[in-house]
């Protein structure tokens, strides 16, 4: 099977590749001759780390069997295509939940490891990779290796955050965390300027398990960086019910994207005011809090045929206030802003991967409709601000950063290249490893 069926979440760039499914963990990896192969999870990466233009993708979603669950110690073993949401549903009624969960539950365990994803509790738990006990890695030379922090530790470090380049993860064992139930106490405070975020966030991190801020990146001047800080903590309530479901979906790619700066500005204003009115304490189910965007299936289609980019950077603590403010000003001036700009402090727990994105500091994530060169130029200028401040851009969301920027920001890339499986490659990897 080949063609355009497997795109990335940003739906840009378009790639054409063969898709070969892997059904069982002990199946031989398919022989692809000269074509390179790339393991593929659920395609929730925004950019091209999950694409292999001109090559082949190894679809791992049918590796979706649980292997074992130990409800006494919260250890779960499963195949790499299991979705994080399925883990939550299985283990929550028995008192356990994922230690780290990104902003969507439609992500596979393999994808979560390969991008070493982070969640709203980064300041307490670090990245996903910190909770991986071990995994099984199959390489295209036919070998199959068990990796953990103590067994094949180099390959473990290279595979966590290794963007699928070191081999195919077929099974993994992860450590869950104990919880009483599905509900959280959420608190929302609004802030009317970026400076205020920095005052609030450090304190919020000290007090709360989960923290995240949403900012209106089109607000300017005295309102620059106004937003909402949301915090949450687990309730001591043994209720594991599923939330009331009202799942909408965007049925097809809209021919012309309605996402223009005017509509975004209006949306952001409306959202900001609505949430500000709802500020205060509320009891919420973990799903709408962890995965707010999952409420609308295929929401990425609203950006139309040309897709969109996500720009996520992290800036070290000392430089963050200034750099984030500069970035927001640049975005607001350009007027090509995004619905949701997410701002969060990362804690200082070390990331286990050679190429893990998180580091101590503040991370900002913005979506931009793809308007061609203009959008690329804007992001290039944001790169400069990011790099000048000693920060870096998240590969799992990227579709355009330059090889020079990548290589400077991730010096571990050389080492990864040495440990990578020569039969594997991705659009991203070819793009960022050329001589700058």
């Amino acid at each position: 099977m080949s063609g355009h069926s497997h795109q990335s979440w940003g739906r840009w760039p378009r790639a054409s590749q063969q898709v070969l499914p892997l059904y069982w963990p002990d199946d031989q990896l398919p022989a692809t001759g000269d074509l390179s192969l790339l393991p593929r999870g659920n395609g929730r990466s925004y950019g091209d780390v999950c694409l292999n233009d001109g090559g082949a993708l190894l679809d791992c979603r049918q590796l979706n069997r649980f292997v074992s669950f130990d409800p006494e110690h919260g250890r779960l073993a499963c195949e790499a295509g299991v979705l994080l949401g399925d883990i939550q549903r299985l283990t929550l009624p028995r008192g356990w939940m994922l230690s780290v969960s990104p902003g969507t539950q439609f992500v596979t365990v393999g994808g979560a490891i390969a991008n070493d994803v982070h969640g709203k509790n980064h300041h307490r738990a670090g990245t996903f990779g910190r909770h991986v006990v071990s995994f099984e890695l199959r390489r295209t030379d036919g070998s199959c290796l068990q990796c953990s922090p103590s067994e094949n530790p180099e390959l473990f470090r290279a595979t966590v955050g290794g963007l699928g380049l070191t081999g195919v993860i077929t099974r993994a064992e992860i450590q869950l965390k104990p919880v009483s139930g599905a509900y959280l106490d959420q608190q929302t405070v609004s802030f009317d300027h970026l400076d205020r975020f920095f005052e609030l966030a450090a304190e919020a991190d000290r007090q709360h398990e989960y923290t995240v801020a949403w900012i209106d990146c089109l607000a300017r001047g005295p309102e620059l960086g106004r937003g909402l800080l949301m915090t949450a903590d687990h309730r001591d309530e043994a209720n594991c019910s599923e939330p009331a479901r009202r799942r909408l979906s965007v049925p097809f790619e809209l021919p012309v994207s309605p996402v223009r700066s005017w509509s975004v500005r209006q949306f952001n204003r409306w959202y900001f005011n609505r949430q500000r009115r709802n500020a205060g304490r509320r009891r919420v189910h973990y799903q709408p809090f962890f995965y707010p965007l999952d409420a609308v299936g295929q929401w990425n289609r609203v950006y139309g045929r040309s897709g969109f980019y996500q720009y996520q950077c992290v800036i070290p603590e000392g430089q963050a206030r200034e750099a984030v403010s500069d970035i927001l000003e640049r975005v607001s001036d350009a007027g090509s802003g995004s619905f949701l700009a997410v701002l969060k402090r990362f804690g200082d727990l070390p990331s286990p991967g050679l190429l893990s994105f998180p580091m101590p500091g503040v991370t900002l994530a913005l979506d931009f409709a793809n308007q061609g060169q203009r959008t690329l130029d804007l992001m290039d200028s944001l790169d400069q601000l990011t790099h000048a401040a000693g920060g870096r851009v998240n590969p799992s969301k990227d579709a355009r950063m330059s090889a020079a920027h990548f290589q400077q920001a991730y010096p571990g890339w050389k080492q990864l290249q040495g440990l990578a499986d020569p039969g594997l490659s991705s659009s991203f990897w070819r793009r960022v490893t050329v001589a700058p």
Partner: protein, 245 residues
């Protein structure tokens, strides 16, 4: 608690059905050819909440073994409420166009083995005055097409057989459900280009589970195949024989 026997449990479609039944707390007896894979399934289904999961190796064309495995299932689960027949193989046309032996074998797996299994299970269920038979046939059995008429003929035989069986058993305690999936993305169709009409095994599994709980007779899955096949069956032969389907 429902006790179900699944023949061909390592199939993608059966695996997805087993998962839903496990979540409903059923006790399952799985058969397949590969014991390692049966073991992987067993662990998965137990984690998902199955009351019990036991397995046995069965090559479906081995008719003696059929009887032994069915008795083993009845004994281990202490009775049986449900049997799903999901084994099948789609022969590549290169093989059966020229090889009578390959043609015979494909018919044996897809039709003869299914019919002998059904005959045994019907006897069992009738003697116990209880049980539901679910058979995965195919839309391919609704009309012979040049691309897969050997497989289609075997599935057509199964569809007709279950239709007659349902007719005979009507009014009694034993039910027969014929499931006719359209094109499903599974190992069987690994080498096909997938397009718009393709379904996932999970979608088909939902239809199978619903057909059992609602007591349906013939289920097309996904539903639109009922209408597609209606049109295809209505085409006059002089026209149909000219088409490349």
């Amino acid at each position: 608690m429902t006790r179900a026997l699944i023949i061909g449990a390592t199939s993608a479609i059966a695996g997805a059905v087993a998962r839903l039944w496990a979540e409903q707390g059923h006790a399952l007896f799985l058969t397949g050819r590969n014991p390692e894979r049966l073991k992987l399934l067993r662990h998965d289904l137990l984690a998902r909440g199955a009351a019990r999961v036991e397995t046995a190796v069965l090559e479906v064309t081995d008719t003696l073994q059929q009887e032994a495995v069915i008795s083993q299932a009845v004994q281990t689960l202490d009775g049986l409420d449900l049997a799903l027949l999901a084994h099948g193989s789609l022969p590549g046309s290169d093989d059966w166009h020229s090889s009578p032996e390959a043609a015979r074998l494909a018919f044996e797996v897809n039709a003869t083995a299914t019919i002998t299994l059904l005959t045994r299970l019907t006897g069992l269920f009738e003697s116990r005055q209880h049980g539901t038979l679910v058979v995965i046939s195919s839309v391919a059995g609704d009309r012979g097409r040049q691309s897969n008429y050997l497989y289609g003929a075997a599935k057509g035989a199964v569809s007709l057989f279950t239709q007659g069986l349902r007719n005979r058993l009507h009014g009694g305690p034993v039910r027969v459900i014929t499931v006719k999936p359209g094109m499903v993305d599974t190992p069987m169709t690994r080498s096909f280009d997938k397009g718009l009409l393709w379904a996932t095994p999970e979608q088909v599994a939902i239809d199978v589970v619903r057909a059992v709980s609602r007591g349906r007779d013939v289920v097309y899955s996904p539903w639109y195949w009922r209408w597609i096949m209606l049109v295809i069956r209505l085409l006059p032969e002089w026209l149909f024989k000219r088409l490349r389907l």
